[in-house]
Subunit: 362 residues, 3 copies
């Protein structure tokens, strides 16, 4: 560590985050749609709570929460003044502590944290260094960062925040309330409302399409678009290719993590989740509420049924039924995968054991 | 979907794509090097065909095609006026439809699509915001985008299109007709003609090289280059490190998809294909016409023979012979991999089955 | 190759690299902390050595080295004047060749190469196109590239080199001697000294956190930071999300390759190595000196003990003990993994062999 000091003073470093409050417990309970339980001993701070903090470092004016059973042991020693917990942990809350009991404690936590640290709204204005083509239409209530490029015919709806160095390509449409991170590239795209794109994502470039010609590969024109429906979120450095003939579509409310690859003509339904470094090949369809875990890969031209869950590093080569849980490469039901692992381990132990036992050699 | 309308009106949205035509059937046949077959019933449109469209939405003035056996059922109901098909499907073409019959239907399709939607040529000119070092040489017939940086001693050949925010580093050479996407970084690189690089690719940065010293890791100077030969295409956010001593070379006509990693000193031959999220470690050699499927990983210092095919998610730890098909981690012949999968499944079923049978419990 | 010439004239192309020297053998030996052995026949060049080159192309005034046993056969035919080798190869050095014998030949090589090609120091100055917020503090001895954005309250220490198009977000701190590559995005980050970040890395964006609400997913505020300790190096297009409550921390001296994903709240200890395309999920802890090979994936909320080594493409679902070597998905000890592979191969061969033998058919 060579003498460097990185003592964490808790979340929400004021250099990076603004802060509202203080808030009284009942205000927090209302925001969280949770039940307020007073401390069994002591009182709640009359001046309210000032912020959120993890169990280990929270003080009497902080709100904390238990989100993961693994960390339950931290609860009994916390000095937090208010703790958000699931009903199962309500009687484990220390006596000095008030509690917000919720059947959805993570959601409750999220809302309380948002109350203390609200999103900063768009600051209307265009940085003087930005380049906006004369035929582009940018709503006056947008925040346009430094060195932004908005090309001919593009349309940016109200209340958008466009980060530094973003390129909004020719004809691209952005709905109201979008937040586009630094260095994002958008082309051939129609984007809904409240869409969030993190830095460095690439949306709308050529798909990977070529035919074998007499002198080498010949590029197949990629003539579709990317459609990002309302409330989609896209992670940093993720790539979404535009369609070749049909559109590539990310359904409303879906969330993609960092470094995800979406091939041309893929169609994701509503509220799908695609975790980091997963890849979905061209023309594959995900119905609604599908989850694809990290580093999983889906071959092209297949269909994943609604609410299916694709495990981490899974290699999916054929259709998956609605509601199925698959893992492994090639993909198989979770149960089968772990049974295979167990059986192989047993057989391998036996094989090496009997080899040892029988011959004295390995 | 919250009311959002994303009705696709077919490919080639005029906000994003220019359009040529109309074209008569014989012109299309010539471009496609395909055989024109008149409709068994009805006539071809005298005014020619106006565009391309998928089978489901094509109309009498559209050209469509059947590229994938999976979608054969769409052919019989299409309203398209002209369909590109392989000989095996020629007699499945509806009676009202003309056909372009080709033994390479995807290539034929590609050329017809290109005829309707030709590449826009470079519009000579330098965006006023670009920064070009005095000693850089940029051919006057290039299109240089906003906020481009071209550093000292760099050379950009004729007819190149350099997107917004591209950095062409010191001394980098670009041949004629290259198209460099937005936000690409190029350094320590020698680039041939007609090379295409999609947005966000990183070419020529330091390789991952360090030695263990007494006080921690010590960086090994990376003194090679990246050489991209003619007609190479590089996907979005792909990373190609420069060599440490020798060059990192991507052979003529090779195509890399998005989010691919190429380590220092790797050498790819001609017309190799590397699909998204695959990684090729340092000093590994691919001979000509090798295919590496998505998410595959190749260890360093190995050699992959010409025309070998590395399957998706494959983990290659040793040399692969020319023409071999391998998959799995560790890599093995396709046939062996799927045999292993089948045998393990059978053994695991038997193991759990006999446990069930024997004890009545699972 | 269509006539293109890519003849490599050896490392350190003068278009891209500066060069010092010549150096006498003893100077090189001192830098390398190696033992100089004179040639058995002939003399060392009186004017010193002028550069480094690989064994195949090095000449009498070049220094070369043997770093990998695979290439030992190149040693006997080299025309290099001086070769760096491990003691085991000292007697294989040709008679005309001087040798630098070192028990750490790669480190010795690194230092010799650095002597010929020293790092260029920061050239103090701010490119006129850069945008620096009035409240940002930039040390006058920094080199700030074109179109850089340094936001309000950010602090950049002395001797930093900030590449073109970098965004240093509000309040971000950079210690002395950092080198930030083109197009890097930094936000919500505290960065130590001598940290190197390659082009396109994304540091400090929102982690992937959301709760299921009544109308879809609700984003959980991400209120932590990213802390990069001294001497950390981060690869191109790598993504490091900031913490949700705690910080995401990369320990001193750690090195991350390209396209790596680090989830929110992850904590890496000192001198960890994470190779390209690997992913570490949220809240996972790596103790010191852990190695994670390419394309490996670690689930969230686990702990990897000091000096553990995670193999390529490994899928780690639970804690790993200090010093352990694991591979496979799910992760298991190296030895067990390769035993499983061998046993399954044997069983599968037997199964298909007996089928063949029994029925004469496959």
């Amino acid at each position: 560590m060579t003498g460097q000091q990185n003592v964490s003073s808790g979340p929400a470093d004021p250099r990076f985050f603004t802060r509202s409050g203080p808030f009284e417990a009942q205000v927090l309970a209302d925001a969280a749609e949770a039940t307020l339980v007073s401390p069994r001993e002591g009182n709640m701070p009359t001046e309210g709570y000032v912020g959120i903090a993890p169990l280990q470092i929270a003080g009497p004016q902080d709100v904390s929460f238990l989100d993961n059973r693994r960390y339950a042991s931290l609860l009994e020693n916390t000095k937090a003044g208010l703790v958000i917990v699931a009903p199962a942990f309500a009687d484990k809350v220390p006596a000095h502590c008030a509690a917000l009991v919720s059947t959805a404690p993570y959601l409750a936590w999220s809302r309380v944290a948002r109350l203390f640290h609200p999103k900063t709204p768009a600051k209307a204005g265009i940085h003087p260094s930005a380049y906006i083509a004369p035929t582009a239409q940018v709503d006056p209530n947008c925040e346009i960062g430094a060195f932004v490029v908005i090309e001919a015919g593009a349309e940016v709806g109200p209340d958008c925040v466009i980060g530094s160095h973003v390129v909004v390509g020719q004809g691209v449409q952005l709905g109201a309330g979008c937040r586009i991170g630094n260095h994002v590239t958008l082309s051939h795209a129609v984007v809904g409302e409240r869409v969030i794109i993190l830095p460095g994502a690439r949306i709308g470039q050529d798909g990977f399409g070529f035919a074998v010609g007499p002198k080498g590969f010949e590029t197949v024109p990629q003539l579709g678009r990317v459609v990002l429906e309302h409330d989609v979120e896209i992670g940093a450095n993720t790539t979404i290719d535009r369609g070749s003939v049909n559109d590539t579509v990310i359904g409303a409310g879906s969330r993609l993590d960092n470094l995800v690859q979406i091939g041309h003509n893929a169609r994701l339904g509503r509220c799908c989740i695609v975790v980091s470094q997963a890849g979905i090949s061209g023309s594959t369809v995900l119905e609604d509420f599908v989850t694809v875990a990290a580093q999983a890969g889906l071959i092209g031209h297949i269909r994943i049924g609604a609410k299916a869950r694709i495990g981490a590093q899974c290699g999916v080569m054929s259709d998956v039924e609605s509601g199925a849980d698959v893992i492994g490469s090639p993909a198989m039901p979770f149960r089968e995968f772990f049974r295979n692992v167990a059986v192989l381990r047993k057989l391998a132990k036996k094989a090496s054991g009997s080899a040892d036992g029988g011959s004295g050699k390995e």
